[in-house]
Symmetry: C2
Subunit: 245 residues, 2 copies
């Protein structure tokens, strides 16, 4: 089973750091606020963060009252930054691919994963392991690239008019699941496409109850400041799901 | 609230009857087999069919052991055919828009709706009423046009190569919910677009548990006979959902 560790690639790492530093990026405007809006009250709770990256979310979980936070990431390079910039007595960082979480011996009240699951080949296996790691009544909240993004398999993603304005998104092979190779800072970044129904059914078959699904869209207020995100009405960038055990 | 009764329009009715008589139509190959595969054992059960049309499904529910079947449809013209071709002592046909089902006084073990809900403007209201009509533990199974179809708001649906082969589907305004007017035999057929997340969240908020979601795709075997359905891999035509109370 391939376990991709693209975040330890230097060119990728520097490129990724740069977009995360840009204040108007889609993560900060849509994905992160939506993810945090879906969290339960974390007071006194234990939280596992799958693909914690630089650890910013872990720090926020502690600020929200979490008693214990474990952040795992496949990239030691990301965790070095996390340990420097987002350390706290409540937080433990572990260098571990999320395919290996069955090795964790503790249980958690809340599991969170921000934009990491579309890198995982065996989604069903990770979901089953998350279910096993959760306390009864625990919740799992994750974000991923929207299935209308992950299905992309080359060619132009958008059709534009003569002025470069986006007219529509070009969707092909939505029904063909599996690996996609794309260029994002470096060649050969691998993501895995799954249809909406596969994502839902995999969660249900693992034993979870679906509680909420969100495809974030810009508000009118936000569009005044960032008109470039109008195109999310054609194709949302993210999908977020909350399920409970 | 608009309650569209396009099926009583003569031109629409005749055109619709013709495609339903064509043996290789997508309903017969994908939607109907999938819908029936999602049904529970109907032996001794009471079934409500929302938008029963010609009543073919009602006859099959009885053949599968259903004790009582109520088929409702907004179109009296459709029900005339149903009463002639699909009558049985167990079946009652009622001329009623599905927006009015709160007027029914009985309860049901199973509610089914085949390709009718995308004509309904107030989805949440119908879903709440279905929940109220179901016995505890009852199931609701419905099919609708896939959200990648219902979002269509004019222009070419497909981009083709010089030989007319479909390259990709042109998706715009997926995030803009609400009314769409389309031409299907007659002008001004109204359908209502809702995103995946709205469909899921509406069901959840009504109290339902999501049990299964299916976006039917052709098997290899089927493609040998009907290669024209290869394009479903770009954009499924249908989405089916099973929920329980």
């Amino acid at each position: 089973m391939a376990r991709q560790n693209i975040y330890d690639n230097e060119i990728f790492f520097e490129g990724y750091k740069k977009i995360r530093e840009n204040e108007a990026n889609a993560n900060d405007l849509f994905e992160i606020p939506t993810l945090f809006s879906m969290l339960p009250d974390l007071k006194g709770k234990s939280v596992l963060d799958l693909g914690c990256g630089f650890g910013e979310h872990c720090t926020r979980f502690v600020a929200s009252g979490a008693e214990k936070v474990v952040g795992i990431d496949i990239s030691e390079r990301m965790l070095e930054v996390a340990r420097k910039e987002n350390s706290a007595p409540e937080i433990t960082y572990l260098n571990m691919p999320m395919e290996d979480i069955s090795q964790l011996s503790e249980h958690f009240d809340v599991v969170v994963s921000s934009l990491a699951l579309h890198y995982v080949e065996d989604f069903a296996d990770v979901i089953r392991n998350v279910y096993d790691l959760l306390e009864k009544g625990g919740v799992f909240i994750f974000s991923q690239e929207h299935p209308l993004c992950t299905c992309h398999s080359g060619g132009d993603r958008w059709t534009r008019d003569e002025n470069g304005n986006k007219l529509h998104v070009n969707i092909a092979h939505y029904g063909v699941e599996g690996e996609r190779e794309l260029v994002w800072f470096v060649d050969h970044v691998k993501t895995y496409h799954r249809t909406f129904s596969t994502i839902m059914n995999t969660l249900i078959q693992a034993g979870f109850t679906i509680e909420e699904v969100i495809e974030p869209l810009p508000t009118e207020e936000l569009l005044k400041h960032y008109p470039q995100y109008e195109d999310l009405f054609h194709k949302p960038d993210f999908m977020l799901v909350r399920v409970c055990k």
